[in-house]
């Protein structure tokens, strides 16, 4: 290519070098500013999660390197090879080069094989499922709430956690686990596919109806006292966004106490029927058996509530007033169980009773007079 007599284009190597340096500087700036942290998963809190994070770091480094290399070539070509007015003759009509084709087939093959092997190794490490884990939890995902059953060594249920979300004010709720112990979780669903996902574990596993999935994890000892958010990660219907849960890491001693309390609560005799008027409501097929109830004003009343849906589908009967304020918030009960719900005295008026998990399908009018 001829150069114009009036200006000399910069030597190729110099421009190439500048482009590469700028790109590397950009990447370095991103990481040094801390903004690069957003391109990494959050710090893992389980042994398995840390393995996944280690693998991610390697994949990420390879990804950045490949991106910088190829993008540098693109940027370089775009800057350097613009057609100039002096370019009248065609450039060299290179059709290809078999040697470079072989090179850029073999080297990427090597790279992906390397990535596959380290991924496979990590997968084997994190997929260990032992015959005798320290703790067994049976997680049931129903539309739209998680339940956690704690099992003893022989697989018998000792306690059920029906409140999947940790309430910071009451300290109740959530799936507590002891740190430093192996926790084996089995997953079941009575309805549709869900997924058990805890971002801080860098891990999720689908809950497939008709198939019991199983995985294990061990929370790091220094995470005791931490609460980790979890969420359903497989579209499961109109309440998908609400299927939240928490995993609570406790010291083994605190966990034992927590489990004892939950066991007591699970086995407690149900509250007796309070005095006062009593209504009867049944839930089945994600519907209440009535859409209108009546109660006298100014008197506490009760509802005997039977949940006839399958185990794993929880319901409750909450009440909100005409302005939408919730005036009665009951604990949910599992399918196949019943409860005596006590309600405070309400002033006369029109209220809505609803299931807090399925408000769209399950609601009705409560007339208090």
């Amino acid at each position: 290519m001829s150069s114009s007599p009036r200006k000399r284009p910069a030597p190729d190597a110099l421009v190439a070098g500048v482009v590469v340096v700028i790109l590397i500087a950009l990447v370095a700036a991103v990481f040094m500013s801390g903004w690069g942290d957003t391109l990494y998963p959050p710090k893992a809190v389980t042994a398995e999660g840390r393995e996944i994070r280690g693998l991610y770091d390697i994949v990420f480094a390879v990804a950045v390197a490949i991106f910088v290399l190829v993008e540098a070539l693109i940027v370089w070509s775009v800057l350097r090879y613009r057609r100039r007015p002096t370019d009248v003759e065609l450039p060299v009509q290179t059709h290809g080069n078999n040697l470079v084709e072989v090179i850029w087939t073999l080297i990427p093959t090597g790279i992906v094989l390397f990535l596959f092997v380290i991924s496979w190794q990590t997968l084997n490490h994190i997929s260990v499922v032992s015959a005798a884990p320290d703790i067994r939890v049976h997680a049931i995902a129903g539309q739209f709430q998680w339940q956690f059953e704690y099992l003893d060594a022989s697989g018998k249920k000792v306690a059920t956690q029906l409140a999947p979300v940790y309430d910071t004010t009451t300290g109740e709720g959530g799936m507590a686990v002891p740190v430093g112990r192996s926790i084996q979780v089995t997953l079941d669903s009575p309805d549709v596919i869900h997924a058990f996902y805890v971002p801080r574990f860098l891990f999720k596993r689908d809950v497939v109806p008709g198939q019991t999935n199983r995985f294990e994890f061990t929370v790091d000892a220094n995470e005791a006292g931490q609460v980790f958010r979890g969420q359903c990660a497989e579209l499961c219907g109109t309440g998908h966004r609400t299927m939240l849960f928490n995993v609570i890491a406790l010291t083994p001693a605190d966990y034992d106490a927590w489990l004892a309390a939950l066991t007591a609560k699970s086995n407690a005799t149900p509250a007796p029927l309070p005095s006062g008027p009593v209504l009867n409501v049944t839930a089945e097929g994600i519907k209440f058996d009535t859409t209108s109830l009546e109660a006298p004003a100014g008197t506490p009343f009760a509802i005997v509530f039977t949940n006839k849906d399958p185990s794993g589908i929880s319901h409750d009967i909450d009440i909100k007033d005409a302005s939408g304020t919730v005036v009665a918030n009951q604990d949910t009960i599992n399918g196949g169980t019943s409860a005596n719900y006590a309600y405070p005295a309400l002033p006369a008026g029109t209220y809505t009773f609803f299931c807090s998990i399925h408000p769209g399908a399950m609601s009705g009018t409560l007339t208090v007079k």
Partner: protein, 543 residues
């Protein structure tokens, strides 16, 4: 010479009139109708996306207090974009271009070609009508049972059924089109046009058509089975009646994975046409390109279960290895493209600008997909916004950018007029900015734990800023479409006259008038290489 020295208004190439367009079997008119119909559905799918983004801009449910409607929005956004925009748009470009590029007078089966087209607006109406007949499908474009079966809290109502029928119609249209392309390409090439002298666009349509013919019927069978489960008491996929939800996923992804190559390969074909023309050099590694394309097509049939890594029902090492391997032929193509630009003489017309945008965006999309090939990493990022980032980098940054490169490149051939370059560049800048602003933050959202398909998120999860950024980006993309629509409108009326070969291009479609006569060619140049027009222009007789 074949040039007609007529202004396009007086051109005999297009006999006008509604009746002509409704009854035509001319592949050029059919191709244009495919493009127009697909673009309309691009707008429909885009509006659905804006509704999704508007709701997600801030935590709390603002507009869609009924999460069911939100689920309909993203289900139909994806279904419309994939089945009524991307696949048919690329089929339409292929329909227009392939017979011209191989020197044929039309497709092998022109009447079936017309049938294939007209099934699309029909299917589109069927799909969109579901919004007005009790609610559209809402179980995701993947329609996994049991959620997509009948029942309270699942998918009662006709929306899911209309979806099934609509998609089966579209699939049938696709299969007929694929058969048409294959017979045309194998049997109707002009003398001298051996398989290894065909333009890469034709090769990508060839491989795409093999995928379409072999894979699409499998999803038809899966959707038929879903329909039977929903309406006739069947038990294919109902886990509590002896069926298997995982069976559906296997049948579904056996098609839907090759389908993504159906969605990208013709766009790669466009890039492979544009880069050489605007670099004034041949495509680097033409044969390697063909083998890479065939390799992607073949490997594409073997990786479907990488969409199911978290189900616990997949033989993980096999699918992980093959998924990683697909990166190799894809990389070969990327390097070949870059080395086409390298040491070329680049003219930055809009087609080239979009092609270069494609290169970077698809590079990102390919790289972030490789993360999912690593099974443990996939355990972290599956079903999160990372995957949304990946799919949009390859489908928008890849396919859509390829579509716009193709539209700007072939608009002059189709209409006889050039599109305006300034408007094209404004469109590109806005689209590039908007696109990256929308989808790059989704990598961060996915890593931070935001799952897909949720109508709302907790205000304290740390996702607010990225979501707001993504929504702003989405509206910037919407704005970027306006210069394009304006551009088409004014260029059709007043655009610069194109002539036969405004780009100094290489392939046969530029050896006839713009637009071509109904029978395509008055005469053909001698065909001695994959660049017959280039050879004719430079007096060469092949290499």
């Amino acid at each position: 010479m074949a040039t007609h020295a007529l202004t396009p208004a007086a051109s005999t190439a297009y006999r006008g009139g509604l009746y002509e367009w409704l009854t035509t079997t001319d592949h050029k008119k059919i191709g244009i109708m495919y493009v127009v119909n697909s673009f309309i559905f691009f707008l429909v799918g885009g509006i659905l996306a804006l509704v999704v983004r508007a709701e997600l801009a801030q935590p709390g449910l603002q507009f869609l207090t009924d999460e069911h409607v939100y689920n309909e929005m993203f289900t139909m956004h994806a279904s419309v974009m994939l089945f009524l925009f991307v696949i048919p748009m690329l089929a339409g470009l292929g329909n227009y271009v392939v017979p011209l590029q191989i020197g044929a007078p039309d497709m092998a089966f022109p009447r079936i070609n017309a049938l294939s087209f007209w099934m699309l607006p029909l299917a589109g109406i069927l799909l969109v009508s579901s919004f007005f007949t009790g609610g559209a499908a809402s179980a995701g474009w993947t329609a996994y049972p049991p959620l997509s079966l009948d029942g309270p809290l699942k998918s009662p109502g006709s929306g899911q059924d209309l979806w099934i029928v609509g998609v089966i119609l579209i699939g049938t249209s696709s299969i007929l089109g694929g058969i048409n392309f294959l017979v045309t390409i194998f049997k109707m090439r002009a003398p001298g046009m051996t398989l290894f002298r065909m333009p890469i666009m034709v090769w990508t349509i060839l491989v795409t058509s093999v995928l379409v013919v072999m894979a699409t019927p499998v999803i038809t069978s899966g959707l038929v089975m879903l329909f039977i489960d929903r309406n006739y008491g069947g038990h294919f996929f109902d886990p509590f009646g002896g069926g298997s939800a995982i069976l559906y996923q296997n049948v579904f992804w056996f098609y839907s994975h090759p389908a993504v190559y159906v969605m990208i390969l013709p766009a790669m074909g466009v890039i492979s046409e544009v880069l050489p023309v605007f670099s004034r050099k041949p495509l680097f590694g033409y044969k390697a390109f063909i083998f890479a394309t065939a390799g992607i097509g073949a490997l594409g049939f073997s990786v479907w279960a990488h969409h199911m890594f978290t189900t616990g029902a997949v033989f993980l090492p096999f699918f992980s290895l093959l998924t990683f391997m697909i990166a190799v032929p894809t990389g070969v193509k990327m390097f070949n493209w870059v080395f086409t630009l390298f040491r070329g003489q680049l003219t930055f017309s809009t087609p080239l600008i979009y092609a270069i945008g494609f290169l970077t965006m698809f590079l990102i999309g390919g790289i972030n997909g490789a993360f999912s090939a690593s099974v443990p990493v996939d355990f972290a990022i599956h079903d999160t916004y990372w995957v949304v980032a990946h799919i949009h980098y390859v489908l928008f940054g890849g396919s859509v950018f390829g579509v716009f490169a193709g539209l700007f490149y072939w608009f002059p051939k189709m209409t006889g007029r050039m599109l305006d370059e300034t408007l094209g560049k404004i469109q590109f800048v806005l689209m590039m900015l908007g696109f990256n602003l929308t989808f790059f933050p989704m990598h961060m959202l996915g890593l931070a734990g935001m799952p897909r398909r949720i109508a709302d998120y907790a205000a304290d999860a740390g996702w607010n800023d990225w979501n707001m950024a993504a929504t702003i980006g989405g509206f910037v993309i919407a704005v970027s479409i306006l210069p394009f629509i304006w551009n088409v409108f004014i260029s059709l009326r007043n655009g610069k006259i194109a002539g036969d070969d405004p780009w100094e291009a290489n392939t046969l479609e530029w050896a006839t008038s713009s637009p071509p006569p109904p029978y395509n060619f008055d005469h053909l140049p001698e065909i001695r290489s994959e660049r017959p027009l280039f050879d004719a222009r430079h007096g060469q007789t092949g290499h």
